[in-house]
Amino acid sequence: MSTRDLTVPVAAPATPWRERLGTMVPILVLAPSLAASFIYVFVFTLWTLYLSLSNSSLMPTYGFVGLDNYASLWANRRWNIAYTNLFLFSGFYIVGSMAIGLLLAILIDQRVRGEAVWRTIFLYPLAVSFVVTGTVWSWLYNPVDGIQAFVRGLGWTDFSFALTANRNTAIYAVIITGIWQSSGFAMALFLAGLRSVDPDLVKAAQIDGASVSRTYRKVILPTIAPIFLAVAVIQIQFAIKTFDLVAALTRGGPGVSTTFPAIYVYDLMFQRGQIGEGAAAAMMMLAALAVVLVPYSLWIAWRRRGEGRNG
């Protein structure tokens, strides 16, 4: 090794400098992005971690206070509301959008006419921002001008639909809107999965006399099981990062009833000048993502390796 290192300068005149520079080009091209990503992922995370252990209030300061911020965060009633909401929202949102997405995907998979049109209709909310969706739905939920007024106008005069006006039901308004926004995305992934199932497998089931629903339950859906997991993981990520939707739809209210972790981080850092505790809340969001994503990526890696060995 060392002798080779020594011989390089001697051999250098033989390889023109352009060529030697040439071998460096790929690394030079990658370097700026790599540096930026490294700072973004590691330096920023450690930075925020440190802030979460500091006595920062209005401005970042670096006096070390240990886990005080975490203790006061978890003692806070509003943080409890925030993560309870997160669990409630994640559960309904993921199950709801996957159920509707799967239903739509199976229906579209029945060789319907105008498939592209249906798909475009179900998917367009994906292109619209949560801000736009949240704003429009906040109007629809408004009891004076929205859906309630419309149905009452049709003659059903004691119809009641005022989810966002009530502390106990406002979270369901967020859930419904979230499902509306993203079930089309679940549909697209499921549809692609259905299309990837080996047609011979389906034919074999049909020849055996299996009904359509039985074919789906016993043959098709089990083969696309990994897609269920993929969709669920992507949706959990959306749920944990939910900020815009709530900011536009309910602004965390009525009261603090639809506070989410992301909303609370923003409030602590920029409205209340409690940067240390806000950083602690942000770290908890990262922890929640890690709880979901680390096992999932390990599972993916394990499955790939298994495939590599068998294939």
Binding site: V25, L34, W118, T135, W139, F150, G193, A262, Y266
Partner: protein, 300 residues
């Protein structure tokens, strides 16, 4: 279809089967149509309201057919509506978003394509590990980066500016664009690259002559993803800019929050549509390729 119908006249069993088939098809289309109505209704409501008179909305509620077609609300929302003191409508925020989104999309896509090219065709020792490290950026919640960005933007003198947001979106976007491009370029046969190298082509020549011409499918995915994602982003916009400098998402929330006057639903509807239009257009033009690319990636 036609065959089944013909047979039905002769064979009672076939007739029953045809009936069953008909009802099955009917049910499929009925459910699809029901969901299509649910998905399209909010869009139609907003479009209608942007064309209705405010007095009509106040009297008859939001959900009603337009009795008039007027574009006043659009003109107001674009150029003259007052938000917290300034009466310039949404146009400035619209252009803020545009001048943020276009450079950030172009830069992050180009960087992603070059990174993907290196990480798939010019691998070196440790490049897989570096790729996986870059991937972590995909999962980072924006909240983690808020305070560091606030500090850095202050140092660079980029607070409350579109350039600051461009920087943030480029750095955040690199991990996505690199992932998309790298996974696509992996499927380009290595022999193609080897042959070109034997012919004396270097790094850049191979990139321009072989990789780029094969790239449009993945570049469409990347551009659609980045454009819609950056245009629709709200958190960084609301944290790092204010007033005249805000991108349109932040301005929309500020606009619709104003509880000072009676809610001008006509103008707000038009404003919402102005904010939703660019990503919708991008999606309508590139969506087909986008969905194909995205789903292929997710299924792998």
């Amino acid at each position: 279809m036609a065959e089944i119908a013909l047979n039905a006249q002769h064979d009672p069993e076939a007739a029953a089967a045809a009936r069953r088939y008909f009802w099955r098809r009917f049910l499929i289309y009925a459910v699809l149509a029901l969901f299509a109505v649910i998905y399209l209704a909010p869009l139609l409501v907003v479009v209608f309201n942007s064309l209705r008179e405010q007095s009509d909305i106040a009297r008859n509620g939001l959900i009603s057919l337009p009795r008039s077609f007027r574009l006043d609300a659009w003109a107001q929302a674009w150029g003259t509506y007052c938000v917290s003191g300034t009466c310039e409508g949404m146009k400035r925020n619209f252009f803020n978003s545009l001048w943020m989104t276009i450079p950030a999309t172009v830069i992050s896509t180009l960087l992603g394509a070059m990174n993907g090219y290196v990480l798939s065709k010019w691998r070196f020792k440790g490049s897989e590990i570096l790729f996986n490290l870059m991937l972590l950026g995909v999962f980072m919640p924006g909240q983690i980066s808020l305070m560091p960005w606030a500090f850095l933007l202050g140092k660079f003198g980029l607070t409350n500016s579109t350039y600051g947001l461009v920087l943030i979106h480029v750095v955040q976007g690199i991990s996505f664009t690199t992932l998309f491009c790298r996974n696509f370029y992996v499927s380009i046969p290595d022999d193609l690259i080897k042959a070109a190298r034997i012919d004396g082509a270097g790094f850049w020549r191979i990139f321009r002559k072989i990789i780029l011409p094969l790239s449009p499918p993945i570049l469409i995915v990347t551009v659609v993803w980045q454009f819609t994602g950056i245009w629709n982003e709200y958190l960084f916009g609301v944290v790092f800019t204010s007033g005249q400098q805000q991108p349109i998402t932040a301005a929309l929330v500020a606009l619709t929050a104003g509880g000072t006057t009676a809610r001008a639903y006509d103008v707000m509807s038009a404003a919402v549509l102005i904010g939703a239009l660019p990503p919708l257009l991008i999606y309508l033009f590139g969506g087909k390729y986008f969905v194909r690319g995205l789903t292929q990636g997710a299924i792998k």
